[in-house]
């Protein structure tokens, strides 16, 4: 970071606080999720226990999916697909989160140390940011947002299906239903709080006064958007929890406690 | 002595606050090559501190408003001592100046129908202040700054050089306005009788000296607050323009009128004096003493009795229904409120840190407070750890503004007696009379900044190239020697043996203390006499102010140079205040508490005395050391520092049609019978 004319301070930084804590924590959190989700996505097993389907496997788009009654399986991809069907659909939420303006900050800081923290020098020689391939692809975030909205709709549908019991009878609720409900709410709030969404809904307008409805929507989404980082983490945890809950049911660790 | 760098421009503007930038824009738009010189970085001028708004009778909120009403309010606020023509021009032109800002990109708060919103303020009959939250000054500066950048971009396109016709010399101090050498061979330079020839200054960063030659120089340097201990003013406010004018031979008027803003922060000590905007009261904030009483109702003076609410209930109703109720007395002109707070504190009913309570928390929701007074909320939270949405602020008077300044021609802003010198903004006197209304400052900057720029440009345009005044080599050399004095303080000491080398910081603190204690908000004859005594002592010591180090960004040196200006201006204030044996506006005499109609006809004019003036108030110490080593300016550097001579001048009669805007009942309070009968 030194150029001849700047103040000659050899230290990479002079911060005295624990600046490394936040990037280390987000790196650790993301790493944990990556390990867990990789295991679960490739497992190709224990993802369905009626009436619950793991969000990792929904919608299930290959021939090799477990049969789920009224469930989100459409064998669009066909029977040539040999590995876990989760891989097909996970590309979309993965892409959404990978290009998300919040996650970008988290992993640029946590994994790339670019920068590790404010006013702490970067360890590399050159930096071009998002001006070139591949990082210029971050600009397609809004398309992943559209896709993520579709996925959120399907997961909402899954949540509706969760108001059945194990015998597919309607009007029942178990602990799993609550887990799914919470997950659906968090996924929706995370998805809607997206910066691209905020832009599409109203941010792109020059004159709010001519579009009162979109202005109001923009205002609401703005409030959600201020919590985008929190929602990103909450929904990440909730989606993993929902999957883990289904996994536990599927391996028979316990029976879903039903309320009615 | 090495030759200093010289440049030639058409118009030089000293100061880059609202008035300076507006003047520069105008001069440049008139086609003149314009140089702006400022002590801080471009865009940091003290104007950013203005919070409440710009007074302009656009009538966006109340259609009853027009320039006549604004004129009337301004004259009342100034207790009729204002130069009527300045007040008239100001009231007439302010709306255009505000609208023009919009076309340069300013974004004021809006009314529901999309016009510029206007807010209430002390002394203004109608909601009149165009504002942006409580950071209007910042908006003003930024808009002017960006307009200058826009003009520079134009020049870039045309000439390939951003600074072809408009350049900002930032972080530079001007120490002298130089005049043409007197052809008769008399005293040259600053003391000469010729036209303005340019300025002498130094770059703060490098310490390098420079001369800029120009036929027109606009002073827009702001005020003098740094001579007082408790002040809302920044370090830049050392009265430079006032002193430059005096030293160039131009008189100052009304210097006894110093406005103490009623509400400055009183705690913690390090921020004591920082402003709490009047909008707090305009938007519903009330003043209470330690008994919880809204004491302002006890302090409505007779001249205002019928204009202000007599009960809390009526005052409260006014915020909602201003047409059928009178405004609460918290919104009296600033001088009245400041004195009232002063009295409450003196009577032992003050707050723990020696102020009174200013409360908005019980009158507005936290949300409203944060929206309408964001920077106040921020300021108290950050600096005093006080949450104004939940608890009252502690406030007390703080030195805020000097009404006095360079005597100017109202229409052209030309300084009296020095051809080529102009002044606008706080450094100019006359516009605000004895007391300025809140919001009238920003409009003053724009109205007279533009006029100063316009007429400075015209003068420059009308000066033929071969007629341009030239700065004499000797004058530049003398100015340089003067600026370098603090580095040779030890040698001076050795030659005159008059005392030890003085620390400029110590001298400054003593000056501030003296002015604050002795020429402050309430004044007495004995105290002011004592102040003049102390000033004389400080003056002698200031000649021995010495600094260490070198010229590159050396704050001690800068202060040593500024001391000359502060001492000069402080003497004007003290001398004029001692002379005026009445109380009016920003000048309150304990020994002469009443306003005297006879005094309304008198402006006190300060000038550098030509002969050493020894009087009873002045100790012999003054005559002592004449600073050596400055042949060209010896008659000035040595002697001028202690010599202000005061002169009474009759105020010009107010034009009859303007007088008719007032009821006779009101005029009798201000004008003498003789004036009324005319």
């Amino acid at each position: 970071m030194h150029s001849a004319s700047r103040a000659a301070i050899p230290e990479r930084h002079l911060r005295t606080d624990r600046w490394w804590l936040a990037p280390a924590a987000s790196a650790a959190g993301l790493l944990l999720f990556i390990i867990y989700s990789t295991w679960r996505a490739f497992a190709n097993d224990d993802y369905y226990e009626s009436p619950y389907v793991s969000p990792f496997y929904s919608p299930c788009l290959a021939d090799n999916c477990e049969p789920m009654r009224d469930g989100p399986n459409w064998a669009l991809v066909g029977d040539w697909w040999g590995i876990s069907p989760a891989i097909i659909i996970l590309i979309l939420p993965l892409g959404f989160r990978l290009t998300c303006y919040y996650y970008r900050k988290a992993y640029y800081r946590g994994f790339w140390a670019s920068p590790p923290a404010c006013a702490v020098a970067e360890p590399r020689k050159r930096y071009t940011g998002e001006t070139r391939f591949p990082l210029i692809l971050q600009n397609i975030h809004r398309y992943f947002f559209y896709a993520a909205t579709l996925v959120a709709c399907i997961l909402t549908y899954d949540t509706v299906l969760a108001f059945r019991n194990a015998d597919y009878e309607w009007g029942h609720m178990g602990l799993g239903t609550l887990v799914f409900l919470a997950n659906a709410v968090l996924l929706w709030t995370y998805t809607l709080s997206c910066h691209s969404c905020r832009h599409i809904v109203g941010g792109r307008l020059k004159h709010f006064s001519k579009h009162p409805v979109r202005y109001r929507l923009w205002g609401w989404i703005g409030k959600l958007n201020a919590r985008h980082a929190k929602l990103a983490w909450y929904s990440l945890v909730s989606v993993a929890l929902a999957d883990f809950y289904v996994y536990l049911l599927a391996i028979g660790a316990f029976d879903d406690p039903t309320f009615f | 002595m090495t030759q200093v760098e010289r440049q030639a421009w058409d118009v030089v503007v000293i100061g880059a606050g609202g008035a300076g930038l507006r003047a520069a824009i105008e001069a440049r738009e008139q086609g003149m090559r314009t140089a702006v010189i400022c002590k801080s970085l471009f865009g940091k001028a003290h104007t950013v501190m203005a919070e409440g708004g710009i007074a302009a009778s656009m009538g966006n909120v109340n259609e009853g408003d027009n320039w006549q009403v604004h004129f009337r309010d301004t004259m009342r606020g100034g207790k009729f001592l204002n130069h009527w023509r300045m007040a008239e021009l100001h009231a007439r032109e302010a709306p255009d100046r505000v609208w023009e800002l919009e076309s340069w990109g300013a974004l004021f708060d809006r009314t529901v129908d999309g016009k510029i919103s206007q807010r209430n303020f002390g002394g203004h009959e109608y909601p009149r202040l165009a504002h942006v939250g409580d950071r209007t000054g910042l908006e003003l500066i930024r808009t002017l700054q960006q307009k200058i950048v826009a003009l520079q971009q134009e020049d870039e396109r045309e000439f390939g050089d951003h600074e072809a016709r408009l350049k900002v010399f930032q972080e530079c101090t001007v120490t002298r306005v130089l005049k043409e050498a007197d052809p008769a061979g008399g005293p040259t330079g600053a003391g000469g009788s010729g036209r303005v020839a340019g300025v002498f200054g130094y770059e703060r960063e490098s310490g390098r000296f420079f001369v800029i030659e120009a036929p027109s120089v606009v002073l827009a340097t702001g005020g003098i607050g740094k001579s007082f201990k408790v002040t809302s003013n920044s370090w830049e406010y050392t009265g430079d323009g006032h002193a430059l004018a005096l030293l160039a031979g131009a008189p100052l008027i009304n210097m006894e009128f110093v406005q103490f803003h009623p509400t400055g922060m009183v705690w913690p000590p390090s921020v004591k004096g920082i402003l709490v905007t009047e909008s707090v009261r305009g938007d519903g904030g009330v003043l209470r003493n330690s008994d919880g009483k809204r004491f302002m109702f006890d302090y409505v003076p007779d001249v205002f009795k019928d204009k202000y609410a007599q009960s809390e209930e009526e005052g409260d109703r006014w915020y909602e229904d201003p047409d059928n109720n009178r405004r609460p007395p918290e919104l009296l002109p600033r001088d009245e409120v400041a004195r009232a707070i002063n009295s409450e504190v003196k009577a032992g009913r003050g707050s723990p840190h020696g102020g009174v309570f200013l409360d908005v928390s019980t009158r507005m929701s936290a949300e409203t407070i944060k929206r309408r007074l964001p920077s106040m909320h921020h300021q108290f939270k950050e600096l005093a750890d006080v949450d104004i949405t939940a608890e009252p602020m502690e406030v007390g008077p703080t030195c805020h503004y000097v009404m006095g300044g360079v005597e100017v021609d109202p229409d052209t802003a030309a300084a009296t007696g020095v051809l080529g010198l102009f002044a606008a903004g706080e450094v100019a006197g006359g516009m605000h009379g004895s007391n300025r209304l809140g919001g009238n400052s920003l409009s003053d900057l724009l109205v007279f900044g533009r006029r100063a720029g316009l007429y400075a440009a015209q003068l420059a345009a009308n000066t033929r190239p071969e007629d341009r005044p030239v700065v004499a080599e000797a004058d530049a050399a003398a100015a340089e020697a003067e600026a370098l004095l603090p580095f040779s303080a030890e040698d001076v000491n050795a030659t005159t043996a008059s005392g030890p080398v003085e620390n400029p910081y110590t001298l400054h603190q003593e000056l501030q203390q003296a002015m604050n204690d002795l020429v402050g908000i309430i004044r007495k004859h004995e105290e002011m006499a004592e102040a003049l005594n102390r000033l004389a002592g400080l003056r002698a010591r200031a000649r021995r102010a010495g600094v260490e180090g070198h010229r590159q960004f050396n704050p001690g040196w800068h202060l040593a140079i500024d001391l000359r200006n502060m001492l000069l201006v402080s003497e004007c204030v003290a001398r004029a205040a001692l002379e005026r044996t009445e109380s009016r506006g920003g000048h309150t005499r304990d020994d002469f508490p009443a306003m005297d109609r006879l005094w309304r006809r008198v402006n006190l004019v300060c000038q550098v005395a030509t002969q050493p003036e020894i009087d009873a108030e002045r100790p012999a110490v003054h005559g002592g050391g004449v600073a050596p080593a400055d042949p060209g300016l010896s008659g000035l550097v040595g002697d001028q520092a202690g010599q202000i001579q005061l002169e009474r001048r009759e105020t010009p009669p107010i034009r009859p049609d303007l007088l008719q805007l007032f009821e006779r009942d009101e005029l009798v309070k201000y004008l003498t019978d003789e004036e009324l009968s005319q």
Binding site: L14, A119, Y127, H199 | S103, G114, Q152
Partner: protein, 255 residues
């Protein structure tokens, strides 16, 4: 209530320098700038520091305290332990002039590169009508006091001097956002596309939205969320989104 604090203050100039130790009195309610002033008045009269309003309104006294870009006048001493050594250095992204004073001309150069507000051709002064909801966004950005802390902390130029020519920095990208969101800016009519220019000429793509600018902003402006990201999305509209491109094409055809 007063105590003796330990300070390390960087002193020097472009030719070199280092941290110098000081022990100095601190009283209740003081901010770091007060302490620097006390050093000037009592120990080092030629210590260079730039300051002005002392109330967080002018943005002159930017420096780095314990390694973090901050305003000296808005950093209260009470946030530090009495035993703590407080390190004060000049801003590290700009050339140093002397001691705590840096040469911030980079920022003024960048300011000149941003095309100014274009007034609408058909409106005279006084005829401007704008509603509050339309000016709100740009007003937030106009709260900027130009302390340049965001420019100082932004790793794009702080850590890579060579990026300076290509990158305007958060302050001036925000200025582009402000003008692009100004309800009456008529840049479009003159053929100036601010969205495209932000990406192509002012280096918006260098920003990797790691939010340090927002973190250091003393005015609490949400630079990243409200200015930079919306500007990126606007640039996407122009450059990377075929649907928006198509939509605009059809709309223009329809008119």
């Amino acid at each position: 209530m007063s105590y003796q604090a330990h300070f390390k203050v960087w002193r020097g100039d472009a030719d070199g320098g280092g941290l110098r130790d000081f022990t100095v009195e601190v009283n209740e309610g003081e901010v770091v700038l007060d302490i620097i002033h006390r050093l000037q008045a009592t120990q080092t009269p030629d210590l260079a520091v730039r300051w002005n309003c002392k109330a967080g309104k002018c943005g002159s006294c930017s420096a780095e305290i314990n390694g973090r870009p901050r305003l000296l006048c808005m950093t209260r001493m009470s946030v530090f332990e009495q035993s703590e050594t407080i390190t004060v250095t000049p801003m590290r992204a700009f050339p140093v002039v002397r001691d705590l004073v840096t040469d911030v001309s980079f920022n003024y150069a960048k300011a000149r590169e941003i095309p100014a507000f274009v007034p609408p051709a058909d409106l005279k002064p006084g005829e401007y009508r704008m509603s509050q909801e339309d000016v709100g966004r740009s007003q937030e950005f106009r709260k900027c006091i130009e302390c340049f802390l965001c420019q100082d902390t932004c790793h794009v130029v702080r850590d890579f001097e060579e990026n300076k020519p290509a990158f305007a920095g958060p302050r001036f990208l925000m200025r582009i956002a402000e003008l692009d969101m100004h309800p009456l800016d008529a840049a479009d009519e003159t053929g100036l596309d601010r969205k495209r220019a932000a990406q192509e000429e002012h280096g918006l793509g260098y920003c990797n939205i790691t939010k340090c600018c927002t973190e250091v902003c003393p005015e609490g402006i949400k630079i990243t969320d409200n200015a930079l990201i919306p500007l990126k999305e606007r640039a996407v509209d122009r450059k990377y989104d075929p649907l928006v491109w198509l939509g605009n094409k059809i709309k223009r055809r329809g008119q």
